[in-house]
């Protein structure tokens, strides 16, 4: 059997008295789109922070295609091909949209030329053009990223993940704050991406989750409550109680399932 794209072993992270991620062992095989859901405070984003190196785990290990990446720094993990977007949208606000993509592309290099003008890089220029096209921000290319609407910033973040050609993409609530039209476009984009790269997505919008996910992991209080395909998850009693519990939501889930 091939190594899973992402595997964690007894991963634990405490913040003072709070155990945000509690002895979490997770194995996500490659080639499938995984969604992680769970109530607020379940430890989803903390898990992403541990995987991407923004936080150091108290104990446990993280493996990326069988390679132990526990304790590596964020930029080292990024260079291995794990890219992520942030729940609170995070771009370079004073750089233009094009420059955001530009520097993201060039950051992958070991050597950053100190004197040659960045704009002379033909390969990067083409890739930036393509990516702008893909995410539909070509007309806003010269705008400072900080002046974009929330939805456009989210799209730019996805573009930044794209242009860095990741192997594993961690998306933290990518559609949060998007208009319905923007959500639709982002979901289409994510689906298309999932054909070539492994994606793990944290999402609160259940219609999005049940629409795109191959597998769903439900987290609660730092641990795994359930794991399965969307059908199994929606029929899981514990999940219903812990997360989808409110009766008025049930129809909604069924609706989403059969949509």
């Amino acid at each position: 059997m091939t190594e899973p794209a992402l595997r964690t072993e007894n991963l634990t992270k405490r913040f003072g008295g709070l155990t945000a991620v509690d002895n979490l062992s997770l194995s996500l095989p490659g080639g499938r789109l995984h969604a992680i859901i769970g109530p607020n405070g379940a430890g989803k984003t903390t898990l992403f922070n541990l995987v991407s190196g923004l936080l150091a785990a108290d104990s446990g290990r993280v493996f990326f295609h069988g390679r132990d990446i526990t304790g590596l720094k964020a930029h080292q993990i990024s260079r291995l091909g794990i890219k992520r977007t942030m729940q609170i949208k995070s771009v370079f606000p004073q750089l233009s949209v094009a420059e955001n993509l530009w520097i993201t592309r060039q950051a992958a290099r070991q050597f950053l030329h100190p004197f040659c003008p960045a704009s002379r890089d033909q390969d990067t220029r083409e890739r930036v053009g393509q990516t702008l096209d893909q995410i539909g921000l070509t007309a806003l290319a010269q705008r400072p990223a900080g002046t974009l609407s929330y939805g456009d910033i989210a799209l730019l973040e996805i573009g930044m993940a794209l242009i860095s050609e990741p192997q594993l993409l961690l998306l933290d609530e990518p559609t949060c704050g998007m208009s319905p039209a923007e959500t639709e476009r982002a979901v289409a984009k994510i689906r298309q991406l999932a054909r070539t790269i492994d994606i793990v997505i944290i999402e609160h919008d259940m219609s999005v989750v049940f629409e795109i996910a191959d597998d769903i992991t439900v987290m609660a209080q730092g641990g795994i409550l359930a794991y399965g395909n969307p059908g199994e998850i929606s029929n899981d009693e514990r999940v219903r109680e812990a997360y989808l519990g409110q009766p008025e939501d049930e129809d909604y889930v069924d609706e989403a399932l059969h949509a």
Partner: protein, 337 residues
């Protein structure tokens, strides 16, 4: 058509032409004294550029750049006065001393950011200030080191030396221009873009694969180089080195010059430094509290033009450029499908 780019180029050419003509123009219009004031302004502009590289482009506010300025000064002074070096080896020694101490202190300092970084840079410069004051045999303590400057070069019968005021002026102009040109290149390069990315959002910078610590250290050493060159030039200019130039008061002045002129712009430090030194020279002979004017102006600029004078000018220019374009741009803005 006149575009902001053309205006910028024209101003740059005019400014360059002015600087080249200073040794003849200024004595004719004012008096020779102002030639050396302008030479001094150029040196201090380079020093302010060192603050600007760190604060304006990497987002690290250093109140300790005087340390590297001082090492540049002492490198030259000790090289000439104690070791008997000639001009260029002494110049090299000043720069190398500044870069070396910047590397050593940077290794510790750039682990920190914001006020912690500012504090540690002050602490470093205070430590070395008191060291320099107390190690009298090496540094001359409070009295400093006076020295006679060897000629810059002698080629056949031609001797270039700072004893010629014009030679001194043009040597300083050439060196400062070269440093600003290098900084211009760095800012436009992939490395410079990475600096700005770190300034804007260091977490995101790490997530796209930038080694934030190493890049900050590179910037810190580069800033040490600029400060070291300006310190070495100032030692040549004054034939003198003193621990008083390592005090954090000197660093603080450069921070004010850079911010008022416009942090994050190449020419901001030149504008800020020129403004304040000209005010100082005009007012200080009549009124001893000239730093009051400096303080009021600094406060006004920070409130009214947070991007500094050059930032204000750039914004005006950009807005003016925008007005030139017609409304067709606006209709081409992307609309949601």
């Amino acid at each position: 058509m006149i575009t902001p780019t053309i205006i910028g180029r024209a101003m740059l050419i005019a400014f360059g032409a002015f600087l080249i003509s200073v040794p003849w123009l200024i004595p004719a219009l004012l008096n020779r004294f102002w030639v050396s004031v302008i030479a001094e302004i150029m040196i201090w502009s380079l020093f302010a550029a060192s603050v600007n590289l760190l604060f304006g482009y990497v987002g690290l506010l250093s109140f300790g750049q005087a340390l590297y300025f001082g090492f540049g000064m002492y490198g030259v002074a000790i090289g000439v006065a104690t070791l008997g070096l000639s001009f260029w080896p002494a110049f090299g020694m000043g720069i190398i001393a500044a870069v070396a101490i910047a590397l050593i202190s940077g290794i510790f300092a750039v682990r920190l950011t914001w006020h912690y970084f500012a504090i540690i840079t002050v602490v470093f410069s205070l430590i070395f200030y008191f060291l320099a004051v107390s190690v009298k045999p090496l540094t001359g303590g409070d009295d400093g080191i006076n020295f006679a400057l060897p000629p810059t070069f002698s080629f056949g019968g031609v001797v270039g030396s700072f004893s010629s005021e014009n030679f001194q002026y043009f040597f300083i102009l050439a060196t400062v221009s070269l440093c600003f040109f290098l900084m211009h290149c760095v800012i436009r390069s992939p490395l410079g873009k990475a600096f700005v990315a770190i300034r804007d959002n260091d977490v995101r910078a790490a997530l796209i694969g930038l080694n934030v610590y190493r890049l900050r250290l590179i910037a810190f050493v580069m800033a040490g180089f600029l400060a070291g060159v300006s310190g070495a030039l100032f030692a040549f200019f004054g034939r003198y080195a003193s621990a008083s130039y390592m005090f954090y008061h000197v660093s603080g002045e450069a921070v004010v010059w850079a911010i008022v002129g416009g942090a994050g712009t190449l020419f901001g430090p030149i504008v800020g430094t020129s403004l304040f030194i000209v005010i100082r020279e005009l007012v200080s002979t009549h009124w001893e509290h000239h730093s009051l004017i400096v303080g009021v102006m600094a406060i006004l600029v920070v409130i009214l033009a947070p991007k500094g004078l050059v930032g204000l000018w750039n914004d005006r220019l950009a807005r003016w450029g925008e007005r030139g374009k017609d409304a067709s741009i606006r209709t081409s803005l992307r609309t949601d499908p």
